[in-house]
Amino acid sequence: MTYFFDGSISGFLTAFLAAYHDEAALVTSRRQQLILGEAPVYIKTDETRAARAKARLLCFDDGCMKDLNLLLRCGDDNSEQIAFSYFKKLAKSGKPVHNMLSDDAVFAAVEKIRRVGLELHRFHGFIRFMETASGALYAPFAPDHDICDLLLPHFRARLPRYPFVLHDITRKKAAVYDGKNAFVAPLEQAEIVLSGNENAWQALFSRYYAAVNIPSRERLKQMRGYLPVRYRRFMTETHGEKK
C-alpha cells in the first residue's frame, strides 16, 4: 500500500503509525511516486498522534528528530521511504541504531543525512550574494535538498548588518533576514535592482578567479568533484556555467 502524506514532520509521523504494520508499505509525499491504478492511502496529518509517536521515538534515541528533519529535506526520490525503514528499525530495536552501518536501512538513511549535511556545508561557501540598490543582499540558488532556512543562522551570524534573501529557485521559496527577524516565505520571482557598483565587483571577482588559477595544472575532474557543474549556475566567477 502507498501512504501519501504532506511532506511535514508531523505528516510523516502520522503516516509512520499508519504504515507501521504494513510489510509492503511505500511512504511518500511525492506525486510522481504514486503507482498508476493503485489508490493510495491519503494521510491526514494528526498532530496529537504525531506528538505521541515523536515522544516515543525520542525515548529510543534523543537525536532521532534531527535525523528526521534532515531526511525529509532530502530531495532524492526515495528518501521518505528510506526514512520510514530507518524509523521502523529504530522502533523495533528500542535503542539508537544510527551506528548500525552494516544494516541496509540504517546505512541508506545515514548516507542521505550525509548528503543533506554536505550540501548545507557547501552552500555556506557557494552562495553568491548580489548587492541591490537598497543595500540588501540577494542570492538565488537551486539546492538539491530543501535547505534554505537551514542556511539562515549562518549568514545571520556573520552579516547581521545586511538584510538578505536566500532564494531557492526550484522550490520557489526564500529564507529572509530583514535586519531584525528571520523567516521563510514563498517567493516565485524576485524583482531586483542592482546597486551601482555591483557589476564592477562581480567583474573584479571574476578577474581574481582567473588570476589565481594555474593553467598548467588543469584538473577539471577534481574541480567537478568539489564544485559540481549544477551548482555553478548562480556563481559569479563561473559566469553561470550550466550543465
Binding site: K66, S102, H121, G125, R128, A157, M223
Partner: protein
Amino acid sequence: MFDFLLWEGYNGGMITQEKLTILTESAKYDVSCSSSGSRRKNEGGTGNGYAAGCCHSFTPDGRCISLLKILLSNDCIYDCKYCPSRVSKDVPRATATPEEICELTMDFYKRNYIEGLFLSSAVHKNPNYTMERLLLVVKKLRLEYGFHGYIHLKGIPRADESLTREAAKYADRMSYNIELPSEQSLKLLAPQKSKESLLLPMKQLTLERAAFVEEKRKGLIKKGYFLPAGQTTQMIVGASPEADGRILRLTQSLYRKMQLKRVYYSSYIPVVQDSLLPTAAAAQLREHRLYQADWLLRFYGFGVEELVGEGENLDMEVDPKCAWALKNMHLFPVEINRAPLEALLRVPGIGARNAHKILAARAYTKLKFEDLIKMKIALKRAKHFITCDGKFYGAKNELAVRGLLTAAEVGENATQLSLFDDFVRFSDRKNALVALDGQL
C-alpha cells in the same frame, strides 16, 4: 587616526583590475588556503570565524578558493631566485593602499566570495616598513571596518619583534614560509633570508601564543585573541635537492616543537629562469606523496622514521601507508572485528572516516566482508591486510600484493589527492571526525 593618508599612493575606493591582477598573480603560488581553526565571534560588525573552514569556490586547477589571497606590494628589495617578484626581474610592479585592500575584502566578503583575507607582501623598502603596513591594514580592517572574518597574515622575516607580536593580536593565523628545506639551499636561492630569520619569529609566536592561552585559561585575560588558528608554513619541493626524508623530518619537528597547524608543500613550477634552478617542474605526484605522508604524521599516529629514511624519497609506486605495510607484513592481517583504532588506521586503504565507521558498526554485529562492501568501504587495497570474522580475501604472498597495489594505484591516479577527498564529513551526528576535515 588618519595616518593612513600619509602612505603614498592613497586614493581610496575600488582597486583597479590591473592592480588586482598583478597583486594576486604573484600571491597564487602560496598554496595555503585553509580558513579553519578560528572561532572569532561577530561583535556587531561583519563576519565571524568558521572553525571547520569553508571553501567558497574551486578553480580549474582543482584548488579551493577560501581566502582572498593578495599581496600588499610585489615591489621587492630581495632577490630570491625562484620568485617572480624578485628585484632583478623586470615585471610590472604594484602596491595597494590599505584602503583598497580593506574595501576589496569587505565587498568580497559580504557577497560571500571569500571566507577572509590572506595578506602577504614582498619586502617593500625594508622589512619593518612592510610589516608596519601589513599591520596597518589588519588593524584597520578589525577596528575601523569592524571585520571579524578570517585573516591569515604572512610574517615578514627580520621585521621587529614588537610588530610581529602586535600583528598576532589581530590575525587569526600567521605564516613564515620556510620555502627551502635546508640552510644551504636558502643561502643559494634566497640569499637575503636565513634559517634564523624564519624560525625565530615562528618560535617567538609559538611561545607567546602558549603564554596567552595559559593566561586566558587562568582567567587573567578575558578578551582578545592571539593567533587563534595558529601558524603554518610552506616548502617548495623540487627546486633544491633535499630528499623527502629530510623534508618530512623538518615537518615532524615543526609539528612537534613549533606546534604548527600545517605544513604545505608546493611542487616547484619554473616561473622564472635561473641557472641555479631546475628547468622542469617537479612532479605533482611527489607533492601528493608528501601530503599523504604528512597526514600519516598528523592523524594516523606514524612517526617519520617509520615512513622514510633521511636521505630517501617516498615510494612513487604506492602510497606511503602501503609502502610501510609492505615492509611490515608480519603485523598483518588484522581482524577488523577486534583491531584497535590505531591498528585499523594503519591498514592501507582504510582512512580515518572508514576506521570510525567500522568501530561504530562492529559494536552491533560481527562484520563480514559483505558488510564492509555494503558500508562502501574501499577494499581494493585493504583486503590484503585484514581478516573479516577470521576470513582472509587478499593475495597470498608479498610480491603478489605489491603487484596488485601498484595496479590499484595506477587506476586511481586520475583522482589524485584522495586523502583530501575524505574531507566530506561523515554525517554521524555523534562522531568526532570533524577534526579530520581536510582543511585542518
